[in-house]
Structures are given as C-alpha cells and as structure tokens.
C-alpha cells in the first residue's frame, strides 16, 4: 500500500518543471518584431526607394550588396527572424482556427517543414554566394583572379 502525499493546506502552488515555451514565444514575437521593423524597412529603403528602386535590382546589385559583411549579416538576421516570427504567427493562427486535432497536426507539420527548408535554403544561399559566377563582374574579388 502506498500513500500519496497530500500537501498541507495553503502550500503555495509550484509550477514545478513547467514549460515556459508559450511565454518565450510571446516575448520572441515582440523582440523579433521590433528588430524586424528596422531590418525590413531598411531593406525596402535601400532596395526600393534609393537609386532606381525596383529597376536597379539584378545579379550585380545583389553581388554588390553581399560583397559587404554588413549586408550579409543584415539579410541573414532578417531571414531567420522573419521566418521564425512568421512561423510562430501562423502556428498561433492554426491553433486558433483548426478544430480537429489531426488537422492541427497536419498543418503544423507542413508549416514546420516548409519553414525549416526555407531557412536552410536562404542561409546556404547567403553563405555560399559566389559573385564571380558572373563573368562580367567588375567586383574587385573577381577581377583580381
């Protein structure tokens, strides 16, 4: 015979090893959101407002930007934060509107898979980018070869 120990009355409730995931996700949305305001509006300003806007964008434009570690870090941070911010937002929306457990599970599986693939693809693109695959490149790294 084993007795379950019953706590004394007025013992404060202890959450024990509670999972703070939702709290952290909530905080992340606010923190990443504020950073993304700067990152995304800066991105739009440089790519769509300055110079000839949308008309200036081509391979050479991207190569010129990613020649600088500043824009590599900028774009990498933007990719990760935006993807995770968006994925968490959609996770919340699925939880709110999908009623059946199996539907929820299926939608979230697709969401996490698509997010993972896109983050990995984008990260690889930034890290393995080679501006010199353009034979017409006038960048110093390419003309010195």
């Amino acid at each position: 015979m084993s007795l379950t120990s019953i706590p004394k009355p007025r013992t404060p409730y202890k959450a024990g090893k509670s999972n703070n995931f939702e709290m952290n996700a909530w905080l992340f949305m606010r923190g990443s959101g504020l950073l993304l305001v700067v990152l995304v509006i800066g991105h739009l300003f440089v790519n769509l407002w300055q110079g000839e806007g949308i008309q200036q964008i081509d391979f050479a434009f991207v190569a010129g930007k990613w020649a600088s570690p500043f824009w590599q870090v900028w774009d990498l941070a933007m990719l990760w934060l935006a993807m995770l911010h968006g994925a968490n937002g959609l996770r919340t929306i699925i939880s709110d509107y999908a009623t059946k457990g199996t539907t929820k599970f299926a939608l979230k599986t697709v969401l996490y898979f698509a997010t993972f693939v896109t983050v990995v693809l984008g990260t690889l693109v930034i890290f393995t980018f080679d501006p010199c695959i353009d034979p017409a490149s006038t960048l110093e790294v390419c003309t010195n070869k």
């Binding site: 993304l36 739009l44 407002w49 081509d58 391979f59 693809l121 017409a136």
Partner: protein
C-alpha cells in the same frame, strides 16, 4: 478588434510572400541569368502594383506591431491604445503615400 484582424491578415500575407522571396533570391546561386529572369517578374506593371500592396502590409504590420508592444509593456499603453492607433494610421500615410508615388514612377517610368 479590426486592427487585430488586419494584423493577422497582413502577417499571413507577408509570411507567404517570404517563401516566394527566398526562392527567387536563391536563383543567385544558380546563375546571373536565372536570377535576372526571376527578378524581371517584379518589374512587371501588374506585379509592381502588388508590391505597393506588399509595402502597405509591411508598414501597417510594423507600426501596429509597435503599438501592440507599447500596449503590453508601457504602463500607460492600454489607456492610450486608441490615440496610438491614430499614430499608426498617421505614420503609415506619411511613409506609404510618398512610396506609392516613388515606386509607381519607377515601375511605369521605364
């Protein structure tokens, strides 16, 4: 309530665009020609108009997001949420209207 609905709709819109945008940018890893063909799509007048909508979604989501952060963390946030909504709309118009003019000039000026 309506700002909450708009925040969800703009958020989902931007997230779906993000997938397309990462894939089109990934073309820089294929070849300069592949990337230039992909990005040419964005210079099409119809897509150019859709970009105006995309930037509208970014600006609203950004400024309303700041408003949400202030409501949550600033001790006077909940009290001034309505005034901050006017701020969101004001800031939105100040940045959006010049952008519409600039972007459409770029899209249709070529």
């Amino acid at each position: 309530m309506w700002s909450w609905v708009a925040h969800r709709i703009t958020g989902v819109t931007l997230f779906f665009f993000l997938f397309a945008h990462v894939v089109d940018t990934a073309m820089v890893r294929v070849s300069p020609e592949a990337y230039n063909i992909a990005v040419e799509t964005y210079k099409n007048p119809v897509v150019g108009l859709m970009e105006v909508g995309l930037v509208a979604a970014v600006l609203f989501h950004a400024f309303n997001g700041i408003r949400i952060v202030l409501v949550d963390f600033w001790w006077q946030g909940a009290r001034y949420q309505r005034q901050m909504m006017y701020g969101v709309v004001g800031l939105f118009l100040v940045l959006f209207l010049p952008f519409v003019w600039r972007h459409l000039t770029n899209v249709f000026g070529h």
